[in-house]
Symmetry: C3
Subunit: 321 residues, 3 copies
């Protein structure tokens, strides 16, 4: 697996995802063994044009656990401040002189693509505006694969803010690559899934249905993918927010209606759409899901930095501790 | 010494403090030799909910000098922003997937305890609100031990803002564990030591006295522990601040009244409560005290990460340079 | 080459610059080979009192590529906040307990000198106010040496904001050390080169001339050193800014008037004083120039940390990858 950039989830086909997940599985062992020195001497730049400490930490840990180093800013807007006016392209060209791989979060949709177009070193999109956040989409799929042992033959309820939730939208997109998928779109009226994804699912012959009664279907699904109602999207309409917020809550009573082998996922952070009493249930997979992000990002960094794990497994060096 | 968390200074008894100080002494040699690789492959998270570059640098240096790595933010409030509303407990659970030890500074008293209650990896409290800052308390004691060779039989003047000074309060608390301690509490009227600590000292049979005349007693003490009058506590009362500020100043004339084997300490930063002419006096211990923070934190990190220095000294690997 | 501090460009004479450039040349190979472990166990502090992510990344990469570690802040003002009032000198003394070398950016001219006066560890000035930014000056000279093969016998046009541009001023200063230099000072009326540098050049018998017609001389120069018109210097005078901004632009038509073996330099960031169509011309040296900063800073860090590369080349250890 050799990757030059990771800008959009759809660049990965089923075979690539399978290879990615195999390598992520290897990475779990690497972490367990105390890390590797695979990326010793390599430098990753965290170039964040908006703050996202959670995502930044996940990538930086993924680099450090493999013996690499990091240069980091959550203040990259300063590069292109109004008074100075540098273009993103110039910034990337300069960063090419420093880093071996650039992980970029940007406030504008399409920024990662523009960066990849001029960069000599690999670019990994860590979220650009309302666009893509491909590594989140990969870790979601990887979690399902790992928890349920399959990605075909799935019955899944995607719940919450489906209009604005980047992760819910990406998940639907990727699931269309698999066989016999059934998707229940469960959203408050004001944040229903937008037309583009529904058309996409129809075009790819994926069974889906818009639902309003989560309780009625929760007993039949393999995955509940819960998402946060994003208060910041409602502006002044605080009443609308509160109405949407309280509609679909996973509490103990709800989780006990679920099948024993099913799981509850959430991209985090959560507010109260999953109550804390659910955390101790074996089906609560959301903290394991967050942890999986580390393995996926380790695999992607190794792939970007030219380490062909599949072909030359002996190249992976473990450092005992 | 195996530590799961370091939340409050009182978790340490005399025996543990002695062991800690022994290991800190070893760490001075480690630094002198160019550092170790003891914590190679380990990751420390600096999770600072408020800025404290000084404390953060001290901990990060303590990690790096032992071959470990660091992920770092002074902007951790963003995790639990109003719009997103994640709990501290959820943040800690996610951080557990990244770091082997979490060093946390928080604006709320008790936050470190809450973090320790849910964390799988060790938590070190780097200050929580008006609560505790245990590593500062340890380095203060360690400095006295190192400079004077003992912690019993001490005559000490604690000077300055005793009402608000977290370090002065913690020091009084810890000194109560030792024998034949005499404490002079020397504060401007508006910032006198609060009742709780005085009652605590009385309950533990520690001799103490409130003084107003520092000059009268400075010749008899072993330690002057000077603290800054914290302007930010006075709000609009600028006159009150200036009055309190100028009352107790250690200048050359004052330090020359002190015993030859005595020391002047200060948790830093100082403003002008110790004049710069004192810096060159052998009794000025405050910069050595700041340096001691590094050795204490190296010892605590090693202890938290399961390195039992006392039992297996051969485990410490030195990297020459 | 053993350096205790790097505060001003003029501390370096011709012989020292030659040695510096030789070592920088070695560093290009080190980077090409995947980095070294020369500075393993060493810690650099990035102590930035104002943000400059670009410069900070360049220094941090220079440290990491040699196996060293970094502690970093772009928020060092907090150390000396109004409410706390710590002096720079105290901050430096405390930092001496943590770091092996301190790279400092400050908003006050002369701050680096004050730091160097009290520091036990080397200080590198990464820009202090309107004062010096010596490593930028060195990388500019190094770029000319590398691109043209000489530093004597040069015909150079320095263009743009010569009144405020720290780099243009420093370059003129350093060029006076070389033989048969001809300098064309090409600036809009409102930002002409100040008297001090012109007197300095006259005193050192350097040929120079103030020009208004760049097109007339561009065909004869070896170097066009273009600089940005700094909008922030113009305050309310937006019309003045726009007038100055548009006067001297290097576009394809201009660059094609230049000699085949000449180069266009720019300290970056650029706005539109060099059009993007020029980037693909072989004479466009500005991105290579930015990259050269890495090699210069690697050489300076090695020199500051007591690694005498010239005398003991075998001391340089390469880590393959």
């Amino acid at each position: 697996m050799r990757l030059h950039y990771i800008v959009e989830a759809q660049e990965f086909n089923r075979a690539m995802l399978e290879e990615l997940f195999d390598i992520a599985g290897e990475m779990e062992h690497v972490v367990w063994e105390g890390g590797s020195k695979l990326l010793d001497g390599k430098i990753m730049a965290s170039l964040f044009y908006e703050e996202s400490t959670r995502t930044r930490f996940s990538f930086e840990t993924a680099m450090l656990r493999q013996g690499g180093s990091v240069i980091s800013t959550e203040n990259a807007r300063q590069f292109s401040s109004v008074s100075k006016g540098e273009t993103l392209e110039d910034t990337i060209r300069i960063m090419n002189g420093y880093a071996d791989v650039i992980v970029m979060r940007h406030y504008e949709s399409g920024a990662a693509r523009r960066a990849a177009d001029v960069s000599r070193v690999p670019i990994i999109n860590a979220g650009d505006g309302t666009g893509q956040h491909p590594t989140q989409a990969f870790l979601d799929l990887y979690t399902i694969q790992k928890e349920l042992g399959r990605l075909d033959e799935l019955d899944i309820a995607v719940v919450g803010d489906l209009a604005n939730g980047r992760t819910a939208r990406s998940l639907c997109y990727l699931l269309a690559k698999y066989r016999n998928i059934r998707i229940h779109l469960v959203a408050p009226e004001v944040v229903r899934m937008r037309q583009d994804i529904k058309e996409y699912l129809a075009r790819h012959d994926v069974w889906f249905q818009e639902e309003t009664n989560l309780r009625a279907i929760i007993g039949q699904v393999d995955v509940v993918y819960q998402t946060r109602i994003q208060k910041e999207r409602f502006g002044d309409r605080a009443d609308d927010y509160r109405a949407a917020q309280g509609v679909y809550v996973i509490d103990r009573e709800m989780v006990e209606r679920m099948k024993p082998a099913s799981i509850v996922m959430h991209p985090l952070p959560r507010v109260d759409e999953i109550t804390v009493e659910v955390d101790s249930d074996r089906r609560a997979a959301y903290f394991r899901q967050a942890q999986n992000g580390l393995y996926i990002r380790m695999a992607l960094l190794a792939g970007c930095l030219g380490k062909d794990l599949q072909r030359q497994p002996s190249e992976v060096q473990f450092s005992g501790n």
